[in-house]
């Protein structure tokens, strides 16, 4: 038998069967879930959004970051570049002209990534739904949305609630399982 050191990675780490093996081990699934919980606890407590304001909701977003509401205490720290961000807040109405740029920003963000749609305009077009030729009727036509925050504009408290909902969602995610599956798919593809 060949030395495992010189075998290709796929034979040493059978990623496509990893989940099967873990679940077959006594207590394997439980341990995986516990590790996931710890990881998710950490991830949920540091959601870094991209500073990207489109319209009026961006002002309430700024208020939420600032003195009275202070989103920092939820671990939400704005980042100026999509490469460092976990989350994009689409704050305000998106026009057809800006839509490809929002899409590109979302594509530039590393996985796992989340989208908060803030306000009626980003959710469905809002007051700009009728008789309008330039506004996109909801940002979910361009990027997938995780949390919708209603309001025109939503109060900073509503945005904080949106972040808490997003944190709940992150805490329930089968994060490791998804990562292992994604790695297996990448290995099979490569």
């Amino acid at each position: 038998m060949a030395d495992p050191q010189y075998l290709p990675r796929s034979q040493v780490l059978p990623l496509d069967r990893a989940l099967e093996i873990i679940d077959a081990l006594p207590g394997g699934g439980v341990i995986l879930t516990k590790v996931e919980e710890v990881l998710n606890w950490g991830r949920a407590a540091s959601v870094w959004p991209l500073t990207f304001g489109l319209a009026c909701c961006a002002i309430e977003m700024m208020q939420a970051y600032a003195t009275r509401f202070d989103l920092d205490r939820m671990g939400v720290i704005p980042r100026a570049t999509p490469r460092q961000a976990d989350c994009i807040i689409v704050a305000g109405r998106a026009t057809i002209k800006i839509a490809p740029i929002v899409r590109r920003l979302w594509e530039q963000m590393p996985e796992p990534k989340y989208v908060i749609s803030m306000g009626s305009c980003a959710t469905c077009g809002g007051p700009f739904y009728y008789d309008n030729y330039s506004i996109l009727k909801g940002i979910d036509q361009v990027i997938p949305v995780d949390v919708y925050v209603p309001g025109c504009p939503p109060r900073p408290e509503a945005l904080i609630e949106g972040f808490l909902k997003l944190q709940d969602k992150i805490k329930k995610e089968p994060f490791l399982r998804r990562r292992i599956q994604a790695a297996a798919a990448a290995q099979a593809g490569g």
Binding site: A55, E60, M62, T67, T95, K97, I98, P127, F128, D131
Partner: protein, 367 residues
């Protein structure tokens, strides 16, 4: 021997932390020096003027809040109801006119505070942002208790205002005036004498008076270049002809002068609010106006001084329930037009300071 250099095109925006929204600037550079700047607008074009033709005069109040300059919703409502009232010859009760003036000046303070905070961030002074937002929250509380909305109020009505001020509001407003005047010296300590702030703003982005006039700049941008023009004084509306206030004018025309003008405007706004609170009579707050209002056939131009400058609405009525055509004269659009003039010849690092100093709101530029 002269050094051979090549021009470089730099793209700033639409997603850039200091473009104050979704402005794209195509900057042409020669080394570090700016040769040309072309602003690319339209990323927030909301087709408001077209939408207004499909809504009644009353419904449009809610639309101008959102579709125009969202940092000064009261100013938008004011220019809209002013145009409708002038065309329809609708009387406004005295008390409503005082309430409107107070609200407009509070809005001016809140808009200037937000500008000051974001200008501080652009130049690396994060504390200014936190302090300004602290003061702004107090204005938001005042707005919320009187109108129900923090950012979009829909408070002005054709022929008055929606509701009377709640109990104790005037006391709280007077208290806020004292509070703000106490706080303004703190900003002087933080920014006005700060050597870094001075180095980045004084003498930077000079806009000479004749160029400011030629480019149609208005508001604090024009007043910082030496143009002593304020619509509140030149064409008084509401009760501006009954209150005493100064128009701050500087002649330097640089970023620092624009900063000083806005800071002084906040003090003058406090002065106006205090006088209004003293003079405000009791009485009616709204005259009787039909919900489905029909204006006589004709056209009117109303202009006001929004926090950003000369804000106008040209309204054409064909005698129906809805306006036939509305044209918005946006101050931020004209001020942005002067941007190229201000930036030419400066270094690339000054782009942020100069853009921040003209206080654009992209919703006002694009409509």
């Amino acid at each position: 021997m002269p050094l051979h250099t090549e021009e470089l095109m730099l793209n700033m925006g639409p997603q850039h932390p200091s473009t104050h929204g979704v402005l794209r600037m195509v900057v042409t550079l020669d080394g570090e020096n700016i040769v040309d700047v072309q602003p690319d607008i339209g990323y927030l074009h909301s087709s408001v003027e077209k939408m207004m033709e499909h809504r009644t005069y009353l419904q449009n109040i809610a639309l101008v809040d959102r579709g125009m300059d969202y940092l000064a919703a009261m100013a938008n409502e004011e220019v809209w109801v002013l145009a409708v009232e002038r065309l329809g010859r609708i009387e406004v009760p005295e008390r409503a006119r005082y309430i409107r003036t107070i609200m407009l000046e509070l809005q001016r303070i809140s808009s200037h505070l937000l500008w000051l905070g974001t200008f501080g961030i652009d130049l690396g002074a994060f504390t200014a942002f936190l302090w300004c937002m602290r003061e702004r929250e107090r204005i938001m509380d005042l707005f919320e208790s009187a109108t129900g909305g923090r950012l979009h109020h829909v408070y002005f009505r054709i022929g008055g205002v929606y509701d009377d001020l709640p109990e104790g509001w005037t006391d709280r407003c007077a208290e806020f005036c004292d509070y703000l005047l106490d706080r303004l010296p703190e900003y002087d300590e933080l920014l006005t004498g700060n050597p870094i702030f001075l180095a980045r703003t004084r003498g930077v982005g000079v806009l000479p008076l004749e160029r400011a006039v030629a480019m149609g700049a208005s508001g604090p941008v024009a007043r910082a270049s030496g143009l002593a023009y304020d619509v509140r004084r030149a064409h008084p509306y509401e009760v501006y002809d009954r209150v005493q206030f100064d128009i701050p004018v500087r002649t330097e025309g640089d970023c620092y002068a624009r900063y000083l003008v806005r800071l002084e405007e906040m003090r003058q706004s406090v002065r106006i609010i205090r006088q209004c609170l003293e003079q405000m009579p009791a009485g009616e707050i709204r005259s009787k106006v039909a919900v489905t209002l029909r204006l006589p056939k004709g056209e009117v131009y109303a202009r006001t001084e929004s926090p950003r400058g000369d804000l106008g609405i040209y309204l054409v009525s064909d005698g129906g329930e809805r306006p036939y055509r509305v044209k918005i004269r946006a101050p931020a659009f004209s001020n942005l037009y002067a941007l190229t003039e201000m930036m030419r010849g400066w270094k690339v690092a000054d782009v942020i300071a100069i853009l921040g100093s003209i206080d654009i709101v992209l919703s006002d530029v694009d409509r």
